[in-house]
Symmetry: C2
Subunit: 163 residues, 2 copies
């Protein structure tokens, strides 16, 4: 797998996301990489990411699916357009819709693996299906619709907030 | 509105959730209360809960919808059964499925209001629809399927994790 993750290529102006921004020192800083046609990231929950004691809370699972899927959407879109992530122009996607099916409780005391696949890649929309594994067992499935951000909107959003 | 929130009535054994447990000192500790037929909670994001600078990350929005909807499911189930939350036996729900539609970016620098309504209350399943408002504008909509936990499973889960 590529040593650099998708998120390592995010321009600094759009690298502040709590879930996946490499410039957010408080956040999860997830790292997504290609593994064949799937994108993979791993995450070790903190002890306080509890739902019921011993299990990870659903919001964390949703966050990991969300950010990993947006990274996957960007990388898949670029690949479909003959580019690899890291090349310019960089595509950036935001979540239009996120659906998580919680199949069983997700243990908190192990490394979680999130595997995602772009199942439909359009010009402006990418659909990403994913699963969360704990100790090799699928505990949740994700279905996200990623929407490509126009460059001018990215610029507007990064200008309008406090830095 | 009731001064005590739904989550204030959660038994201590199941009050460790990062999103809504009153015993999780690291977590969001959201508080949900009835406002007529709707349940309402408010949340002020921290500056580091960023997506793009100036906006809240999607995982936070999903977490707030998730936990607020589970509290609403429990309270609505009890009401449908002639009880009010706080009376015993306390019903407890977990998320079977969570869907979030992100309608527009959610500003980070204001209090967010989450309003939820149980649209279907069954014996074992409650459907909750919700919306997130920032400065009075709906930025996201949630649709959750809440599943009632059997008492013995709650007991098993609280026994199996580290305390």
């Amino acid at each position: 797998m590529d040593k650099k993750a998708f998120q390592d290529y995010y321009p600094d102006d759009v690298a502040h996301c709590y879930g996946c921004g490499h410039l957010n020192e408080h956040g999860h800083q997830i790292k997504s990489r290609w593994d064949g046609d799937e994108a993979v990231c791993t995450f070790r929950p903190q002890p306080y990411h509890t739902s019921f004691v011993g299990y990870a809370y659903g919001g964390l699972v949703a966050s990991l699916i969300d950010c990993h899927s947006m990274g996957t959407a960007a990388a898949a879109w670029m690949r479909a357009n003959g580019l690899e992530i890291g090349e310019v122009p960089t595509a950036r996607f935001v979540t239009g819709s996120l659906k998580v099916d919680y199949l069983k409780p997700t243990p908190i005391d192990c490394e979680l693996v999130i595997r995602a696949r772009a199942t439909e890649v359009g010009e402006r929309k990418v659909i990403v299906d994913s699963k969360v594994l704990a100790n090799g067992v699928v505990t949740a499935k994700g279905h996200t619709i990623a929407v490509r951000m126009p460059d001018h909107l990215v610029a507007k959003m990064t200008e309008s907030g406090a830095r």
